[in-house]
């Protein structure tokens, strides 16, 4: 894929043109007089005038130009330009806040234009990273300047940003929710790792367990999370009412107990499947060689089979964790806490920025965990990093 082609880079070109259309045609920001009323949208030319809007089209045209002649040097310039434009988005919000917001109660919302441009620029970044064959780490490092710019703008000028106000109104609660979310995910993944490895080992020994176990776990996986959470309410409520030590532990029909049970149930399938497949897939020749060297059964397992299977097991942990982060959000419905609380509170009050305050961190958390565990898997793969 690293061919230096003579023709234009169609992907980058179309991304750029669509993004330019979104930037000039959609509302970039909206201003509302207070939290309740819907805001008025402002396009670029309504913030800085038609001349200014035309000037903001220049970097896009430059990007299109680079895409037209995609030599490596041009693509590098395009990469720098994309990073600069990403960093300019928070500055645009800051500029809008300064020019448009005058009343202390007023709130600045992020418009469809900015979201669209952000999404398309990130796609362009992925495309350029692939074309230029940059390492994963460098790809992530490219996001630092935009993040720094966002932090600076938030601290200095973005007082009226609605999302920021929702956060500042409940910053303690927010950190608590992140903590709860991570704790639930961590305990669920940890428990399912222990149970899953045990189950996979049992399945290797007794084929009967394998068939029954996979059948059961597959069946469980098809039951929708909200239904499973709901179905656990009644039995747990009954248990906590009738078994003293369980209620002393804080187990009840609502809260962390049904959430954790359901999370572990869902997490077991990917965990067991990957562990089982990984242990089975180790080349029998390697095992023979190890036995031939005089290793005992236990040694073969610990020193040969497990290290060879580790990347695939880690893959299972990655899938499980990402899935659990999403499911924990649903668990907020049954009072388990976590970031989902903000989503459902926001939906209940029709406060969309509160919904964002819950949904965006969940999204980022999932992406972050996916990237970190993915990188770890690459490192542990026999033969080292990519």
């Amino acid at each position: 894929m690293r061919l230096e082609k003579s023709g234009p880079n169609v992907v980058l070109l179309s991304l750029t043109l669509v993004a330019l259309a979104a930037w000039l045609g959609l509302d970039t920001v909206s201003v509302a007089a207070n939290r309740i009323v819907p805001g008025t949208g402002y396009r670029v030319d309504e913030v800085i005038g038609a001349g200014g809007a035309l000037a903001t089209a220049l970097p896009w045209l430059a990007l299109a130009g680079f895409a037209w002649r995609p030599a490596r040097r041009h693509l590098l310039l395009a990469l720098v330009l994309v990073v600069l434009m990403l960093s300019a988005l928070p500055a645009w919000l800051a500029l809008s806040a300064v020019t448009l917001v005058d009343a202390p109660q007023a709130r600045l919302g992020i418009g469809a234009g900015i979201w669209g441009v952000l999404f398309l620029l990130l796609l362009a970044l992925i495309e350029l990273r692939t074309r230029l064959v940059l390492s994963r780490l460098l790809g992530w490092a490219l996001l630092l300047p935009p993040l720094a710019s966002a932090a600076l703008c938030l601290a200095r000028w973005l007082e009226p940003l609605a999302l920021w106000q929702e956060y500042r109104g409940r910053s303690g609660q927010f950190l608590g929710a992140v903590g709860e979310h991570l704790l639930l995910v961590g305990v669920a993944v940890g428990a399912s790792l222990v149970l899953g490895v045990g189950l996979a080992l049992a399945m290797r020994r007794w084929p009967g367990v394998q068939k029954a176990g996979f059948g059961m776990l597959n069946f469980l996986q098809t039951i929708p999370s909200i239904a499973l959470f709901g179905l656990l309410l009644a039995p747990l409520a009954w248990l906590s009412a009738n078994v003293d030590w369980l209620s002393a532990l804080g187990v009840s029909g609502i809260g962390w107990a049904p959430a954790l049970l359901a999370l572990v149930g869902y997490s077991l399938l990917p965990m067991v499947r990957n562990t089982f497949v990984a242990l089975e897939a180790v080349n029998p020749g390697v095992i023979d060689a190890a036995r031939g060297m005089g290793m005992s059964r236990g040694q073969v397992f610990r020193q040969v089979r497990l290290p060879l299977a580790l990347p695939v097991i880690l893959e299972g942990i990655r899938i499980t964790t990402v899935q659990a982060i999403g499911l924990t959000a649903v668990a907020a419905l049954i009072g388990a806490g976590g970031l989902g609380t903000f989503i459902f509170q926001g939906l209940g009050q029709a406060a969309m920025d509160l919904v964002l305050l819950g949904a965006l961190p969940i999204l980022l958390l999932a992406l972050l965990v996916d990237a970190l565990l993915g990188a770890l898997t690459d490192i542990l793969r026999p033969g080292g990093a990519e």
Binding site: M1, N9, V10, V11, A112, W115, L123, I126, E127, T130, R131, F214, N218, F219, T222, I223, P224, S225, I226, A227, L228, G230, L231, L233, A234, A237, G253, V322, I325, G326, L327, A329, V330, L333, I334, G340, I343, F344, G346, L347, G348, A350, M352, D353, V355, L356, G358, A359, L360, I362, L363, A366, L367, D370
Partner: protein, 242 residues
């Protein structure tokens, strides 16, 4: 397994689903036992047949659109003229897999408002990803020798696609569609929190009002629906067995 026997299990689940949907009212005694203190023990704001119908409608509209768009996009990205988009599309499909469905649903509401439309759009977007990913995997996984032979026989690009590529990739594509639909049945239920009325309604209402009987009714029907659809998919002639 004989031809007729393979449908026994999915038809059994389907029959159970229908019996539960139409006969929920007859089970009042059972629910009275679960929820002895409540005045009302059968969810009555809408009848279960309507709720099931709406649920199926939303999921199937989203699924049909997702299949058309997803398979179409994956085919486009594997043709000669669209190959430039392949790396981006496949990376997007794999990154998108990490997005939790709830977050996608929640993000659709600020953009599209409350109601049925945002749910269909969110389900469509989320359902696209497994379909695109599996279609790509299926088409890319075809033995180059087979393609070479088809070309050598003088088949045109369209013929190769219809008669060689799609039939060979069908099991993998079907597995993607199955994943997509199963996830969407569950996500649609969460859609009840954003104003769509479907089988999620009794669950949400039950959780809010502390009426476990409602929760059990909704959960039972959604569970049966999900299991029926999943087992139908697993018996389709082209699907590989798990």
């Amino acid at each position: 397994m004989s031809k007729g026997r393979r449908w026994v299990v999915p038809l059994g689940w389907l029959a159970l689903l229908l019996v539960a949907t139409f006969g929920m009212g007859q089970l009042e005694g059972v629910f009275r036992w679960i929820e002895a203190d409540s005045r009302q023990v059968i969810y009555a704001r809408a009848d279960f047949v309507t709720l099931l119908g709406r649920h199926l409608l939303v999921v199937s509209v989203a699924a049909v659109l997702a299949i058309l768009l997803g398979v179409g996009a994956a085919i486009a990205a594997t043709r000669d003229w669209g190959r430039d988009f392949l790396p981006l599309v496949s990376q997007l499909a794999s990154i998108g897999q990490t997005f939790p469905p709830v977050a996608v649903l929640a993000l659709a509401v600020p953009v599209l408002g409350f109601g049925t439309l945002p749910i269909i759009v969110a389900l469509l977007l989320y359902g696209l990803l497994p379909i695109v990913r599996n279609t790509l995997a299926g088409l890319e996984g075809i033995d180059p020798g087979v393609m070479e032979a088809a070309r050598g026989m003088g088949m045109s690009g369209g013929q190769i696609l219809r008669q060689v590529e799609l039939p060979l990739a069908a099991p993998v594509i079907l597995a993607g569609i199955r994943t997509s639909v199963t996830i969407n049945i569950a996500t649609a239920a969460i859609g009840a929190t954003v104003g769509a009325s479907n089988l999620g309604d009794p669950i949400i209402s039950g959780i809010v009002n502390g009426n476990t009987a409602y929760v059990v009714q909704g959960a039972l029907l959604i569970g049966l629906l999900a299991v029926s659809v999943d087992s139908l998919f697993s018996r389709l002639p082209l699907a590989g067995s798990r």
